[in-house]
């Protein structure tokens, strides 16, 4: 009877473990994808931006600024669009195109490092902003990586997915 009970518990644990989804960001597991040149990254970013809520003034800056902010390789040749706040808040939106030299995985890793660094920085500057970074969206679809820190990341996630669908 005890053995049967243990067997049931172990099976339940294994099944439940399979059901769990603990990743805060959506991981890319797909093979490298070439983004279609017909996709207009700037227009896509604008569409995403238009559906987001921000507490700060968030403005469009040259995509090349994101190469520095995200410590991407200087050889990165992908298209990207970048919207940043005044820095009073960590709010920002970045849309990157993966390339043969800079995969979606590499872009997502850079994004995670950026979010971690921003969290440390804002902890001693504006601690009330840190939850926005804790729930930041890093989403990948067909070689396009979107990084979003907004005032409402919950609804932002749905919006980003619908824009990339």
């Amino acid at each position: 009877m005890k053995k049967l009970f243990c067997l049931i518990i172990c099976s339940a644990l294994l099944i439940c473990a399979g059901c769990s989804d603990s990743a805060k960001v959506e991981e890319s597991t797909a093979a490298p994808v070439t983004v279609s040149p017909s996709i207009d990254i700037e227009a896509l970013a604008q569409e995403i931006y238009d559906g987001l809520k921000f507490d700060d003034t968030v403005t469009n800056v040259p995509g090349s600024s994101a190469i520095g902010s995200y410590f991407l390789p200087e050889s990165y040749t992908g298209r990207c669009a970048y919207y940043i706040s005044t820095a009073a808040t960590p709010e920002e939106l970045a849309v990157f195109e993966s390339t043969a030299d800079c995969s979606a995985e590499a872009l997502m890793l850079a994004a995670r490092e950026r979010i971690t660094s921003q969290s440390e920085s804002y902890a001693s500057y504006a601690a009330k902003e840190v939850p926005k970074l804790d729930s930041a969206i890093i989403y990948e679809c067909d070689g396009i990586v979107v990084v979003c820190v907004s005032a409402d990341n919950e609804s932002a996630e749905q919006h980003i997915k619908s824009c990339l669908a």
Partner: protein, 384 residues
Amino acid sequence: MTSSVQKSEVRRNTAVSAFFCALLAAVLLCFVAIPDSDFSDVEKRKLSLFPELTLSAVTNGRFEDALEVYLQDQFPARKAFVGIGSYFDALLQRNGVDGIYHGTDGYLFNEPVTQDDAKLSRNIALLNSFAKSSGVDAYLMTVPSAGYVLSECLPVGSRTYRDGEIIERAADLADAFCSVELCSAFSQSKSASQLYYKTDHHWTSAGAYIAYSEFAKNADFLPASRESFTVESVDSFYGTTYSKAALWFKKPDTLELWQGAIGKNVSVTVGDLDGKKKTTDDMFFREHLTQYDMYPVYLDGNHAYTVITNPDAAGGSLLMLKDSFGNSIAPFLAQSFKTVVMVDLRHYRTQPVSSLAEEYGVDTLLAVYSTDDIVNDANFTWLK
């Protein structure tokens, strides 16, 4: 006899079960009864509150994740349990497991900075470009970490601190700057003065004063003498490494406020790019001394920009690009410069720093960064 043994066993099992049920019930009751707290003073961080319950949050797993973090953050007697965990790790000699080394003499050290030549080169190139375009005398002060300077206090088996190599490499790359070398001066002074806090990663005021003196040697001006300052000591300062290490019985540090003799007409303005701004006549924001985090007593902590004017000082106008180490050296610099304009690039990015430099007639540039930030800060990209 057998019946008696059985009864005794049943009683014991019942007692054990009742004890654990009571324990679980007590924890649950405490959890419900104790109001949630949104900030942990000792850990210096926001705590998670109960997550919003929506259908989409449940289906995509975010609610469950957030609930797990909420339960961890709001667990009854959390501070005590975190402390017990840290002391247990220390007992097992798991030194450095939380990114903090427990050194001798009460020092808590951040783990060493990882060398990354590509990042360092990129950051220095951006600094060079700005310094060349500004056309003023430029100085680079890279602050070695406490673990590097006080290596004799490190525990056995700790990773090697390569701050010396990073600082040397930064100096080589920074061809538009004169490098202010601190390692030698700190090595010579470390036995006479406490240069770093024991529970924080920053330098003490004594350390900052030595750095100011070294800068004066390089920039060829006479620094205010040590005797000209009135030193006010404040006890019970616990810093960042204490918060990370969670060894709650560590002795606190003493924070020193060095009030300069040339400071009767000082004006300080701190501001951020959302338009918030405040002006005062004291470089020490004493309201922070009643709070758990006292380090912002120096110029109210990190802001996008800070402007200190001291009409009685002899020097000109200094632009300081800085991280948090700059906050405690600035009061010394204000003894020697009529204007000290401080910019924190982590929070100053949509406006050109050159405009600010022009507005205040800057004639000297000083970049003050820890080895960690000179390598890893991605915000030099906003320097223009």
